[in-house]
């Protein structure tokens, strides 16, 4: 049995559409410095580094090598990971494994991306099979639009249901100064009014039915850094660390045509495994807050069902009832989530870091449950429906 592991520090940059003021290593360094400061550590305290992004997005490979000044990794062990949308959650899982193995005590996990430096859709298309799936596969938007088509068909879900999720995410983002999108105009309107406006506005361009601009995540520049520490020292570094209760990931097939489009079975499989480890029987009641990798609005309906927060087709009711709003029983994405900020290699690590902030009671204006969070549930999602899940908790796991 390995060591128990906790998150003791988190740092992020301001996520913005374009950060021309910094290059890659400088952007990475902003997040690393903030995380070290949060934990009260110096770079000398860090034993090993795990770093990731989608290197072909920026057209520059080997981030583990060329970013060492920014990551603080000179003459340290460094592992690089590139797993698409899940890159951030995969570096978190790898950071956890590094410490849980007992080999390292303090490990820095870094995710970053400068989407402004690439054609993101063109870059995403290169992640798919060149013989069978290109060229008709139009990147993330098309891949997600087809999923929505089946979900809508199965349960008579409407565009208003999708828009309701988008509104929640963007309203929550207003509490998060680091978030990329801040749609201040939403403040003065009722939720129903905003939903009606989004589904009827001609300015809200239809990208691929049923997905409009407002249903999709943005392209963002940004970085995040999370520090994992072993049980021997975690409580000395942070008085109230966020313990990693359990983490799992699942992959299914390599070709999108093999996927079961009625369910997100990797997310379901990874979630079930985590809940089993934690002894959680009723996720909706027992989880206090979620930071979910929801790259588009309909994921906030269908994937809630895959995780097990409600039954098939019940996602829309859950969301309309306000259960997932800031003051609901299960607040989802107090940070504003992926739909408000999407620096791809950092995106899933932001979920982990924001979840940790909630457990540590350090989430400021976006803190839920008055800071009394027992369990925070975080996820990562990759293009061919693979999923990473990490459950963070207040109590040291037994």
């Amino acid at each position: 049995m390995g060591k128990r592991v906790a998150i003791v520090g988190f740092g992020q940059t301001y996520q913005r559409s374009s950060r021309k003021d910094v290059n890659g290593p400088e952007l990475i360094n902003e997040a690393v410095r903030t995380a070290l400061e949060d934990a009260g550590l110096t770079i000398k305290d860090i034993d090993a580094i795990v770093i990731g992004n989608m290197d072909h997005f920026e057209g520059v490979n080997y981030v583990d090598s060329w970013s060492v000044e920014g990551s603080g990794g000179v003459m340290k062990p460094i592992f690089k990971l590139t797993t698409g949308g899940t890159t951030g959650s995969t570096v978190a899982m790898a950071g956890y494994y590094h410490v849980a193995s007992g080999i390292f005590d303090r490990v820095l996990a870094i995710g970053w991306e400068k989407n402004s430096e690439s054609d993101t859709t063109g870059a995403i298309v290169t992640a798919f099979n060149p013989v069978w799936e290109r060229p008709r596969f139009g990147g993330a938007i098309a891949g997600l639009a087809v999923e929505a088509s089946k979900y809508m068909h199965n349960y008579n879900v409407t565009e208003r249901d999708g828009a309701r999720v988008a509104v929640r995410e963007r309203l929550h983002a207003l509490n998060n100064p680091y978030s990329h999108l801040h749609q201040e105009w939403m403040k003065s309107m009722e939720i129903e009014q905003i939903v009606d406006l989004l589904v009827s506005s001609e300015e809200n361009q239809m990208l691929a039915y049923p997905l409009r601009m407002s249903d999709m995540c943005p392209r963002t520049d940004g970085a995040a850094a999370v520090i994992f520490a072993s049980e021997d020292i975690a409580e000395k570094i942070a008085p109230r660390p966020a313990w990693v209760v359990s983490t799992h990931n699942r992959h299914n097939y390599s070709l999108l045509g093999d996927i079961d489009w009625d369910n997100n079975d990797t997310l379901e499989g990874a979630s079930k495994a985590v809940f089993k480890d934690a002894g959680i029987k009723e996720p909706l009641k027992e989880i206090d807050v979620c930071e979910l990798y929801l790259p588009y609005s309909y994921a906030g309906l269908k994937w809630m069902e895959s995780i097990g927060f409600c039954g098939p087709g019940e996602g829309p009711k859950l969301v309309w009832d306000g259960v997932t709003d800031m003051d609901g029983e299960l607040p989802v994405n107090p940070s504003g989530g992926v739909m408000s900020s999407n620096p791809i290699g950092a995106t899933a690590l932001l979920r982990v870091g924001e979840g940790a902030l909630q457990v540590m009671g350090k989430a400021k204006d976006r803190q839920v449950k008055g800071g009394d969070v027992n369990y925070a549930f975080t996820t990562g999602f990759g293009g061919c429906n693979w999923a990473d899940v990490m459950l963070l908790g207040k109590k040291k796991p037994s």
Partner: protein, 158 residues
């Protein structure tokens, strides 16, 4: 940092007209599939001896059973739309460097006799009819060279 330096212009450099061609191996089974389209305007799948699942395009290993497959089976050029979308945003296809003309219909099609979906273009002249469950049929190009683009698109039938 002075006020002046705060306001200095922030420069970026561009990669220019760089391009890098790739050659992707299709493999024995994939080659057979593409050759069948090129020469006979037909589709073939491959059947797992353990679970009976028919995969299109054919590949060697059944992911579920982890057994090697070798039983090729014919599948229809007709099938049903499983999931679909009509793409209305332009993007550069990185395989060709060209802008994809939009709008275009796109669907995952379950060919009769197959258990997996084939992703391809759908003729979206009548976008209202591009729906989950709609029946479609493959239309092939006159001149075929052994790539997926030998399929012009799928058209709605019935």
């Amino acid at each position: 940092m002075t006020q002046n330096s705060e306001q200095q212009e922030l420069l970026t450099v561009n990669s220019g007209e760089a391009f890098q061609p790739f050659n992707w191996s299709v493999g024995k089974y994939g080659s057979k599939f593409l050759a069948e389209i090129r020469d006979n305007q037909r589709f073939i799948g491959i059947k797992c001896s353990k679970c009976g699942r028919v995969y299109v395009p054919p590949r060697k290993i059944c992911g579920r059973c982890y057994v090697e497959m070798d039983e090729f089976v014919p599948v229809s050029t007709e099938g049903e739309i499983g999931v679909c979308a009509i793409i209305q945003f332009g993007f550069i296809d990185p395989s060709t460097g060209h802008q994809e003309p939009v709008p275009y219909g796109y669907a995952f099609i379950k060919l009769d006799g197959a258990d997996t979906y084939l992703p391809y273009y759908i003729d979206s002249t009548d976008p209202e009819k591009v729906k989950v469950g709609a029946r479609v049929k493959a239309v092939f190009e006159e001149k075929r060279s052994g790539t997926m683009l030998d399929i012009k698109h799928f058209v709605l039938i019935d």
